[in-house]
């Protein structure tokens, strides 16, 4: 069972919610924000192992290449170009699609590999912690996500802490999700970005519930939209300086009884409403 935790807007509390829920539910925690992963700051895993993520890129056999230029014409991403006496590869533009290999009339291209990031895996007690890290300057993170999310233990609950936004990275996380928990905050920005996230999970047909963070009962900013759309709320977290301080220090909230109860409540609701 994979549960994705996502939000359109950044900084709404995805990591706070997924790390605390992971500890409470004894669920595996998978940090999918490979550009800026933060979950390990809170969960402090032990016994970390690393595995580099490689992508395939074409390698051209210069001796046999006739410079016909078919590979250059076929590449939709402008990753190949024909200089005076050789074909040049711009590896960061390459999507590893293999069209150039198919197009080469004399089979002078084969795949080789290059590293774009790393996956780190560790343990905290019984639970599995994983994260992907994109190398600085690399534009494409999807291959890391795919490697990170394949072969997760199916019998267990895996919490997928998603990146912000609603584009290709998030779609790639949702491709592996059975249900989703959306996190928002009651502001004009929160509402605007929540709408986009809701549209996305609906389009992908993923059942979802909502957690409102920085909640304050006098703030009715989201009320109308939630009612109109019939969105199920699975929990609230209050707007408190204390939470911000605990977060800033990298502390886990459920160490305090008050928050442990709040998260228990959320966990129960998730089970009731979504499972």
């Amino acid at each position: 069972m994979n549960i994705a935790v996502l939000s359109g807007k950044g900084g709404t509390g995805k990591t706070t919610i997924s790390t605390n829920l992971a500890l409470l539910l004894k669920a595996n925690y998978i940090d999918c924000d490979v550009e800026e992963p933060n979950g390990f700051i809170f969960l402090k895993p032990e016994y970390i192992t690393k595995q580099y993520v490689e992508v395939e890129i074409p390698e051209i056999d210069e001796e046999n290449c006739t410079l016909c230029g078919r590979c250059v014409e076929i590449c939709k991403f402008n990753a190949l170009a024909k200089a005076k006496d050789k074909i040049i590869l711009f590896d960061k533009l390459c999507h590893s699609c293999g069209a150039c290999i198919l197009a080469c009339p004399i089979d002078a291209i084969k795949f080789t590999k290059r590293t774009i990031g790393v996956i780190e895996q560790g343990k905290k007690g019984e639970i599995l912690l994983k994260r992907g890290l994109l190398n600085i300057g690399e534009p494409i993170s999807v291959p890391i996500l795919k490697e990170l999310l394949k072969d997760l233990p199916e019998e267990e609950i895996n919490l997928l802490d998603s990146p912000p936004g609603t584009s290709c990275n998030v779609v790639n996380v949702l491709n592996y999700a059975d249900i989703a928990i959306l996190v928002t905050e009651p502001t004009a920005f929160g509402l605007h970005d929540l709408k986009m996230a809701v549209e996305l999970v609906k389009r992908l047909n993923i059942p979802f519930g909502l957690i409102i963070n920085k909640y304050d009962e006098n703030n009715l900013y989201l009320k109308e939209y939630i009612e109109e759309e019939g969105i199920k709320i699975v929990g609230y977290l209050p707007y408190k300086k204390e939470i911000a301080e605990a977060y800033s220090k990298g502390k886990i909230l459920i160490e305090e009884k008050e928050y442990k109860d709040a998260f228990k409540n959320i966990a129960n609701n998730i089970k009731e409403v979504l499972l």
Partner: protein, 283 residues
């Protein structure tokens, strides 16, 4: 002068700060480059002047009357995006490998909409923004295109770009070619870590960066760590903005924070902008 505001981590206050700076510099051109969750333009009720269809990608299209269900495309596709003539548009990257392999020549590529782009005219300038299709590809290219459109309007003035979180393609497209980058961070363990990664990115592309610590008083210890790091690495720390509840009010009233006279954040942002202008941007 082109300035991009970025942060690495989401929710640190990029939009609040970018909008404030744009308000303080009359006539500035604004680019709302957090195209997946664009918030800057929400502050304004402007007039949408030019609307443009933008496509940054293509997807495979199968003519089913020609397809004989041989399944070769299934095997060839590296993205698991095609299955016996059915294309999953969210997975398809438009590479065209299936076209080469199809014995019946049943596959072509068709344009896929990425976004609608707008130039919105507001009383004191222009704002360039996009409404992206949900789940669409090509946010980096979209940002590049927004920047190109903004270029003719920003020749003699400040262009300020409100960036997206992260360090991937949209951020790379947001920062390259700028004169300066302002990194907005917050004094949390996560904020600091994300700041370090995004700072590395600006170094990688050789773009000078300055730093501002938002909500600096929620954890003075981490603030001191960030300050220390900036000093050691010669990164100009141009502002420290206090935690201020007026900011939430400002967002919900959709009125930039600099119009709240009693706000502490307002004063700090004004001081920061003065310093940025005089000491670094020299405009």
């Amino acid at each position: 002068m082109r300035l991009a505001v970025i942060s690495g981590k989401g929710g640190t206050g990029k939009t609040t700060i970018a909008t404030s700076i744009a308000e303080l510099e009359n006539g500035s051109v604004r680019i709302d480059a957090d195209v997946e969750a664009s918030n800057m333009y929400l502050y304004y009720t402007g007039k949408d002047m030019d609307k443009e269809y933008f496509s940054a990608s293509q997807v495979a299209y199968v003519d089913l009357s020609l397809c004989n269900q041989c399944g070769i495309c299934n095997e060839i596709c590296k993205f698991d995006a095609i299955d016996l003539g059915k294309v999953n548009e969210l997975k398809c990257e438009g590479c065209g490998a299936c076209i080469i392999s199809c014995p019946e020549k049943a596959i072509t590529l068709v344009e896929e909409k990425t976004a609608d782009i707008y130039r919105t005219e507001i009383p004191n300038g222009n704002i360039f923004r996009a409404k992206m299709e949900i789940g669409a590809d090509g946010s980096g290219l979209l940002i590049s295109h927004l920047r190109e459109k903004a270029e003719e309007y920003g020749k003699n003035t400040l262009t300020i770009l409100d960036g997206s979180p992260g360090i991937g393609c949209p951020v790379i497209a947001s920062i390259t070619g700028n004169h300066w980058v302002l990194i907005v961070t917050e004094p949390t363990k996560s904020g600091f870590e994300d700041f370090l990664r995004v700072y590395e990115l600006t170094k990688h592309f050789n773009i000078p960066a300055m730093v501002c610590i938002n909500k600096y008083d929620i954890n003075e210890e981490v603030t001191a760590e960030i300050e220390d790091y900036c000093k050691k690495n010669n990164i100009p720390l141009v502002g420290k903005i206090p935690f201020d509840e007026t900011i939430v009010q400002s967002i919900n009233e959709l009125k930039p924070i600099i119009y709240y006279e009693n706000s502490k954040a307002n004063q700090a942002i004004r001081n920061m902008w003065k310093k940025m202008k005089e000491d670094y941007l020299k405009i």
